[in-house]
């Protein structure tokens, strides 16, 4: 695929810090085309944020053992020299964080933080950098942008801060935007605004976005494709449409069924996936979801299932996808 911007092959990330090594990401393959938006969804601890951070090598390198390859725009990210890496971070790939109040330096104005990023990557005067920051603020529709440039992060509202964070990420015109739960910390109404803004910017600037969330609704809103992660693996991947209409992995189906979509009528039970996510330091030998899966068979517990094609561009790591389809039916009944 020549138009792929991001190609991740068999990515494994292991944290060595604790008493036992924890494999947070266990063989992830990802391909992202230019101008495509992909959502990585999963529970806390499923490895989605670690995968995202590894795309920019932001996991602490001393305590992390990484295997596999990451190529972005043809460049081997894992092999970048430190000089190339600092260029790559910010100028080619940029990140938006979950909580902008924590991800921005509290003692610098947001304007100063944006001009700092611009001047880190390009030789421009302070005045020019500030003019660009102002244009960015207008682009992300921050009201009275001139004044807001001189505001400190704590002086802005949550939505405004996230807009400023997006402006900062776009400061050096990256091709790839990584968004780590960008709407989780926001009010519901603001969430929609931010999602629409991201979608709009993506179309106008031709960005590729990898978007981590645990909110299926948000994923459907902005993503072309969705990858569902569980215990460090992508268990199902497909177009947003396929994944919502014809999910094939029992975990995806469980996620879909446990949404309180529309008005949940009073007295009806919200369906939930039984059990809790597995301990990453102590994974079962077979399918990691087997202990919680209603369809688990002996074969599931024996060996980790391979990724199987279940449709065009639609893959699932499950050996019982046929029966899983039936699982979805029970919901309608």
């Amino acid at each position: 695929m020549s138009d792929a911007l991001v190609e991740v092959r068999d990515l494994k990330v292991t944290f060595m810090g604790g008493a036992r090594p924890v494999r947070a990401v266990d063989g992830v393959d990802l391909t992202l085309a230019r101008g495509e938006v992909m959502a990585l969804i999963g529970e806390s601890g499923s490895g989605k944020s670690v995968t995202l951070r590894q795309l920019m090598r932001l996991n602490p390198e001393r305590k992390t053992h990484v295997e596999g390859s990451i190529r972005v725009a043809g460049e081997d990210v894992m092999g970048l020299s430190s000089a190339r890496l600092t260029h790559y971070r910010g100028a080619e790939a940029a990140m938006i964080f979950q909580e902008p109040l924590l991800a921005l330096d509290p003692v610098y104005t947001v304007g100063a933080q944006i001009t700092e990023a611009i001047r880190r990557h390009e030789r421009v005067s302070k005045a020019d950098a500030r003019a660009r920051a102002l244009a960015l603020f207008e682009r992300v529709r921050i009201p009275s942008p001139e004044r807001r440039l001189d505001a400190y992060p704590h002086e802005m509202s949550g939505g405004m801060r996230q807009r400023a964070m997006i402006a900062l990420a776009l400061a050096c015109r990256p091709k790839l935007l990584l968004a780590d739960e960008p709407t989780t910390a926001l009010d519901a109404t603001v969430q929609i605004q931010i999602l629409l803004l991201l979608r709009e910017l993506q179309r106008d600037l031709g960005l590729s976005i990898v978007f981590v969330t645990h909110d299926l609704g948000a994923a459907v809103e902005v993503a072309d494709r969705i990858a569902v992660m569980y215990a460090g693996r992508i268990v199902e991947e497909g177009t947003a449409r396929d994944l919502i209409r014809t999910p094939r992995h029992p975990y995806t189906i469980g996620l879909l069924k446990s949404r309180a979509h529309g008005a949940l009528s009073k007295g009806s039970r919200l369906e939930a996936i039984p059990g809790s996510p597995p301990d990453l330091a102590n994974l079962p030998p077979g399918c990691a979801f087997a202990p919680r899966c209603p369809l688990a068979a002996d074969a599931c517990r024996a060996a980790a299932p391979p990724a199987l094609d279940v449709g065009p561009g639609h893959r699932a790591r499950c050996i019982r996808t046929e029966d899983a389809a039936g699982l979805l039916m029970t919901q309608a009944a």
């Binding site: 932001l58 971070r89 964080f97 924590l102 330096d105 509290p106 003692v107």
Partner: protein, 317 residues
């Protein structure tokens, strides 16, 4: 900003009143007759009464306090019983001497403490961290009068590089910008700097470690900053708290370490307090404590203002 400043200064007024009340009370609660040290043991009752009236010790405590405060507001802290000289002059001379020492000691302590703290915070749990932390703990826990004596033995007695006692050649206690006076400051200042060094080092280490673990550091790395670029942010984040700690340390040192000033015969406030206590010189004791407390309060205001200038999150309105 001006309103904040005015309000902050206004807040100090009740504090100052309280402080003066406490220091008046403390001095008078202490047992012993202030006149016994200046009067001969066989002084007549008449003479005793006369002197008592002269110093105002015959009046009620509230009256004495009111008179003392009234005069203090005009810059008159009374006369020392032992020497007869005005307390204000005595105290100011001692304060200037102590200030010199305290500022130098704080500067040394802050520089070294900041250095150790940053290194330790940046390389947490490494050998360097262990070493720097050990030095910090040593700084806080070594008895400084002992350290002072050791330094005197090594650098004055054995090596003969530096003078052992006094603030200047020939026992002069006034400052002059020459090498001889600087030499006299070195040993006491170094001894004194060990305390702020330890405290600043530990504070900065904790600060740096905390700042480095925050999300915005990842944010900075994500925009391509490395090494010095990130360091700049760490410094600016650590500065308000570190400076506040330094200000407080300077305040403590201004009180003059009685032990250090005694070891080095340094004519500062600690030395003055010591002699005032032993001579039961109430006006001198009272005046010295008041001036020192005043310095401490003013210093706190200055630190607060600086902190609000450096840290935008501190509420100014």
């Amino acid at each position: 900003m001006l309103a904040y400043l005015a309000r902050r200064v206004l807040y100090t007024l009740p504090i100052l009143l309280g402080v003066s009340l406490v220091c008046f009370a403390l001095v008078h609660i202490a047992p012993g007759d202030p006149l016994s040290s200046v009067l001969p043991p066989d002084a007549s009752a008449d003479l005793q009464r006369q002197l008592r009236t002269l110093y105002g010790f015959d009046r009620s405590y509230p009256e004495q306090f009111a008179i003392w405060i009234g005069r203090a507001l005009q810059g008159d802290l009374g006369a020392s019983i032992a020497s007869g000289r005005p307390v204000a002059t005595e105290v100011m001379r001692a304060v200037v001497n102590t200030l010199r020492l305290a500022v130098l000691a704080t500067a040394i302590g802050f520089f070294l403490g900041g250095l150790f703290g940053f290194v330790a915070g940046y390389f947490r749990n490494s050998v360097v961290d262990k070493l720097a932390s050990m030095l910090a703990v040593l700084g806080v826990s070594v008895p400084h009068y002992w350290l002072g004596m050791v330094l005197v033995i090594v650098f004055s007695s054995q090596l003969g590089w530096l003078p052992a006692t006094g603030a200047g050649p020939g026992g002069s206690s006034d400052w002059a910008w020459d090498w001889a006076h600087v030499q006299h400051m070195v040993l006491p200042a170094v001894t004194m700097s060990v305390i702020p060094m330890g405290i600043v080092a530990r504070t900065v280490r904790a600060l740096v470690a905390d700042i480095l673990s925050q999300d915005f550091i990842t944010g900075l790395k994500a925009k391509g900053l490395t090494g010095f670029g990130v360091f700049r942010h760490v410094v600016k984040n650590a500065a308000p708290t570190a400076l506040a700690v330094m200000g407080l340390q300077l305040g403590y040192l201004l009180g003059g370490s009685i032990l250090i000033e005694t070891v080095f015969s340094w004519p500062g406030t600690g030395f003055l307090l010591n002699s005032a206590i032993f001579q039961r010189d109430l006006p001198l004791l009272q005046g010295t404590i008041l001036v020192l407390a005043l310095f401490f309060v003013v210093l706190n205001v200055v630190v607060d203002v600086i902190q609000s200038l450096l840290d935008p999150r501190v509420q100014r309105s």
